[in-house]
């Protein structure tokens, strides 16, 4: 009995217990899962050198498979000199573990990030956080020691010591050490102390010691470069000379008595935009070599199998991309510049900032012209090493007998010559000779700073002679040109009482302007048409409001019509019966034509109300059609026809119908109307 009672209690009444039990079970499960999450962080290598890539891994260990989102990395202090971390992929492994409770499944998800270190020091990366099933977990902090480049890479010549970064060979520290000084990216810069505005050439070259490479078991001919990371050149204006080539062309070159195979990777001309210390981040190149020593697959966390699997396109294209390949990442060191201010000594007052090694030349398209007829095109070209696009207009002194028709058109070009960038800027002047004779285009000049000589200088063209003959179309001046020192008004004095204080026009004022507008001042007031004012909003709101009002009224009207039609239909029977009562009174009036007329009107009125049509003009065919559509009985429909035809014929027949006929017609009408009232 007791057991039965308990059973009843459990199964019947307390249904609210069940949801609570489910929730409790879920919480228990979650809490048991929550208790089994472990997050660890590590960095490889933890002792690195400047220019080296660190792989920062976060391992999230869970019992049972869980949805684990990407960890939230801590923010790196900008003073550490770490490049922003790149996500290098993730991998999962699981295993079974025997515990006291039995077998359990252990999942570990590895998240890998990589970044480069560019400054020496000891840095502690704070904890990384991971959220799993609503709970937050933190890893351990990770310490990284960064020292300066290995000063003694035994293979490196003395002149390169301290200016190259060792290569990275992921997961193979021995090979990495062996390749130190054998593979590197060498930045070659014209000068690390340019002046502000001076364009500097910066080139990156891949240098390979073939012998050292061979000793390490790698074959240079199997090299396949797959990724290039070009630095950003922030705070520089950059102009690419050579982009990274599709195929590396190696040439032999000697550094400190040691022979290297050198291939150009990238060349750029940079112009600093500010003075002081500026730095260009490292240039990185990822390469793959076939290793004679290596067997099996390399599992690289960020450039490896996930992106270039053996059966992928790259594997198919390159027969050497086999399981024996080894990845080598070569980086340059950051290139530090110290940008100097231009010297203030001997700086011309009108110096406009042009810096470079330039030369200037000028030429005309014709040496002979007619005054006031022909135009002469003067082309001035400034060419050389430096950013010519920033060059100002050359200074032009007064040209006697020549009129400059418009401001010069400029164009800039550049070309690569012997691995150098040569810029040229061309100015085209359109001149018109206004006086006949032997004229001379005076020299045009420009102040520049030559960073090679470290001096300011003046570029100047040679004067150009023109032979100008008198033209046939001599323009008659409305006002005689003023002699030097006099204004137009002084040279052309007016009558007494007229102009006495005319303002002389300035020499640079454009000629032949159209005259002023006279008359009433048509002022424009700010308002609706200017897009201002509250009235604008009223006008913008009015059309939609009109449409809205129209829609509302239309809808109300439609619903009223529908109601009216419905009421009319609903009252059709009542109205018809009332009408029939008055028709009945005519039965004994002795006027059968009047009787049948009223009977027809009552019948048609009924059908008009039922069918929402006007009774006048309502035809028998319309009534039949409508009732057929309403699926009325065919007999009833036939009787309607008979009745209406009888009414029509009785009205116009010369033989007057008798009382019995009238009574029969009346009865038939009443019957039909009462039947069809329900249809």
């Amino acid at each position: 009995m007791i057991m039965l009672r308990h059973y009843r209690l459990f199964s019947r009444a307390n249904r609210s217990i069940w949801p609570q039990c489910v929730v409790a079970m879920l919480m228990l499960m979650t809490s048991s899962v929550v208790a089994q999450v472990k997050v660890t962080a590590r960095a490889e290598p933890s002792n690195a050198t400047i220019g080296e890539t660190i792989v920062y891994s976060v391992d999230v260990e869970t019992e049972g498979q869980q949805q684990v989102p990407q960890p939230q990395l801590p923010a790196f202090d900008s003073s550490w000199g770490f490049t922003p971390p790149n996500f290098g992929g993730s991998s999962t492994e699981f295993s079974f573990r025997q515990t006291n409770a039995g077998m359990s499944q252990q999942y570990v998800i590895h998240y890998h990030y990589n970044f480069m270190v560019t400054k020496a020091g000891t840095f502690t990366i704070p904890e990384t956080t991971v959220r799993v099933a609503g709970a937050t977990y933190k890893s351990n902090p990770v310490k990284i020691n960064v020292t300066k480049t290995h000063a003694t890479a035994a293979q490196l010549p003395a002149e390169l010591q301290g200016s190259v970064a060792p290569p990275q060979v992921p997961n193979q520290p021995q090979l990495q050490n062996a390749l130190n000084g054998a593979v590197f990216v060498l930045p070659i810069v014209e000068t690390k102390q340019p002046y502000a505005g001076q364009q500097v050439l910066l080139g990156y070259h891949l240098c390979v010691d073939k012998d050292a490479l061979a000793r390490a078991g790698l074959v240079l001919e199997t090299m396949h470069a797959d990724r290039v990371d070009i630095p950003e050149f922030q705070q520089f204006i950059k102009d690419e000379v050579y982009p990274p080539p599709k195929q590396l062309q190696f040439r032999e070159r000697e550094f400190g008595g040691k022979r290297y195979y050198v291939a150009p990777l990238y060349q750029v001309a940079v112009t600093p935009t500010k003075t002081g210390k500026l730095s260009v981040q490292p240039f990185r190149l990822s390469m793959w070599f076939v290793s004679k020593n290596k067997k099996g697959r390399s599992s690289d966390p960020f450039f490896g199998d996930d992106i270039f699997p053996d059966d992928a396109i790259f594997g198919a294209m390159n027969p050497f991309m086999s399981a024996n390949r080894v990845q080598v990442i070569a980086s340059s060191l950051p290139v530090d510049f110290n940008i100097r201010q231009l010297p203030t000594e001997d700086k011309p007052a009108n110096f406009s900032g042009a810096v470079g090694e330039f030369k200037i030349s000028a030429q005309v398209d014709r040496r002979e012209a007619k005054a006031d007829e022909d135009v002469v095109k003067l082309t001035v070209k400034v060419e050389g090493k430096g950013d010519a696009s920033a060059l100002p207009l050359p200074t032009m002194s007064t040209m006697k007998g020549l009129q400059l028709l418009e401001d010069p058109k400029t164009s800039t070009n550049r070309r690569v010559e012997n691995d150098q960038l040569v810029y040229s800027k061309t100015y085209d002047y359109i001149l018109r000779p206004t006086e006949p004779g032997a004229l001379s285009i005076p020299p045009l000049s420009m102040n520049v700073f030559n960073p090679k000589t470290e001096q300011y200088g003046v570029l100047e063209t040679d004067p150009i002679g023109l032979d100008v003959s008198p033209g046939a179309n001599k323009q008659v001046a409305l006002v005689a040109p003023a002699p030097p020192g006099q204004s137009n008004a002084q040279a052309n004095p007016t009558q007494e009482g007229e102009v006495t204080n005319a303002t002389p026009e300035t020499p640079n004022a454009p000629q032949d302007l159209r005259y002023i507008h006279v008359g009433t001042l048509n002022a424009v007031t700010p308002g609706v048409l200017s897009g201002q004012g509250p009235l604008l909003y009223v006008l913008l709101a009015t059309p939609p409001l009109l449409v809205l009002a129209g829609t509302i009224i239309n809808r109300r009207r439609s619903s009223q019509d529908a109601r009216r039609g419905y009421l009319r239909e609903a009252a059709a029977g009542v109205v018809a019966r009332r009408h029939l009562k008055s028709v009945a009174r005519l039965m004994n009036s002795g006027k059968p034509d009047k009787f049948f007329e009223e009977l027809a009107r009552a019948t048609r009125g009924f059908f008009g109300d039922k069918l929402h049509l006007e009774p006048t003009g309502l035809t028998i065919e319309q009534i039949e059609e409508e009732y057929r559509r309403r699926e009325a009985s065919p007999d009833d429909i036939a009787r309607v026809r008979t009745l209406l035809e009888q009414c029509d014929s009785a009205r116009y027949s010369p033989i007057k119908p008798d009382q019995a006929v009238m009574e029969e017609a009346y009865r038939s009408a009443a019957e039909i109307l009462s039947k069809l009232e329900k249809v």
Binding site: G197, Y515, I516, A523, L546, V547
Partner: protein, 262 residues
């Protein structure tokens, strides 16, 4: 009682409308139009006497009273051009052009006065759109748009209210046509409005104005602009330096005191 309330409501609505209209028509200038006309004629007389400096002062005085007129700006620009003030000339020609974009005198004189750097060719496919947008002033576009929009509202409401089917259908067709036209005109109006109020075009007022790569003279000079060069000013929270886009698309910084907004 209901009728009284309805009447009061109508009166309130009418009074509000009148108030709003009067607000929008209110003039913000202390100078009356008669005085402005007198001064304008005086300036014209001085110009005719070739007394450009005095004419410049008179015209400037009217402009300072916030009187906006295409003829006033044009005449002032002419006086500036005669006095060699290229920057101001271009500024006032541009202001006159924004009010009467089809005036050939303004176009001609602006062409003569402005430096070559201002004659920048836009992208070829956008030329017809830009031409059409600029052929009418903002006021003209706004007027056309408001008229079409109101017409659309009236025709659409009529189509809904007219009981005659044929007339209603005709009105509906007219409403659709006018509606589409209003949309197109509205798009141009919106672009013009945006250009007028949100895009800050300015004119360089001093010759050989340097453009730097940053907001300061210690930055690298990128270019030198002649007086009268028209540039577009970008948003930048610094009252001393203006971040600008040059006609050839490059960006740089210019001292804000050397610019004046169109």
């Amino acid at each position: 009682m209901v009728a009284l309330i309805r009447r009061m409501g109508v009166n309130v609505a009418l009074a509000t409308l009148v108030f709003l209209v009067s607000l929008s028509l209110r003039s913000s200038s202390a100078m009356t139009m008669t005085e402005a006309n007198q001064a304008f004629n005086e300036g014209n007389a001085l110009y005719q006497q070739q007394n450009y400096a005095e004419a410049y002062h008179v015209y400037s005085g009217i402009v300072d009273e916030r009187i906006r007129s295409a003829d006033l700006y044009y005449n002032l620009a002419n006086a500036c051009a005669r006095l060699g003030k290229t920057g101001e000339a271009v500024l006032y020609y541009e202001r006159a052009r924004s009010l009467t974009p089809r005036d050939n005198d303004i176009k001609f004189n602006l062409q003569k006065t402005q430096p070559a750097i201002n004659q920048h060719k836009p992208f070829v496919l956008s030329v017809p759109f830009i031409w059409l947008k600029n052929i009418f002033s903002l006021r003209e576009w706004m007027g056309a748009f408001l008229a079409m929009f109101l017409l659309w509202g009236v025709t659409h409401a009529s189509a809904l209210l007219i009981s005659n089917r044929f007339t209603a259908k005709t009105m509906k067709a007219v409403a659709v046509i006018v509606g589409v036209a209003a949309l197109v005109v509205g798009a141009f109006t919106a672009t013009r409005y945006y250009d007028h109020y949100y895009v800050q075009h300015s004119v360089v007022m001093e010759p050989n104005t340097s453009v730097f790569s940053g907001p300061g003279e210690k930055f690298t000079p990128l270019s030198t602009l002649p007086e009268g060069a028209k540039i577009r000013r970008l948003n930048f929270n610094d009252s001393t330096w203006a971040h600008v886009t040059l006609p050839d698309g490059r960006r740089g910084f210019i001292q804000a005191t050397k610019l004046q907004s169109i």
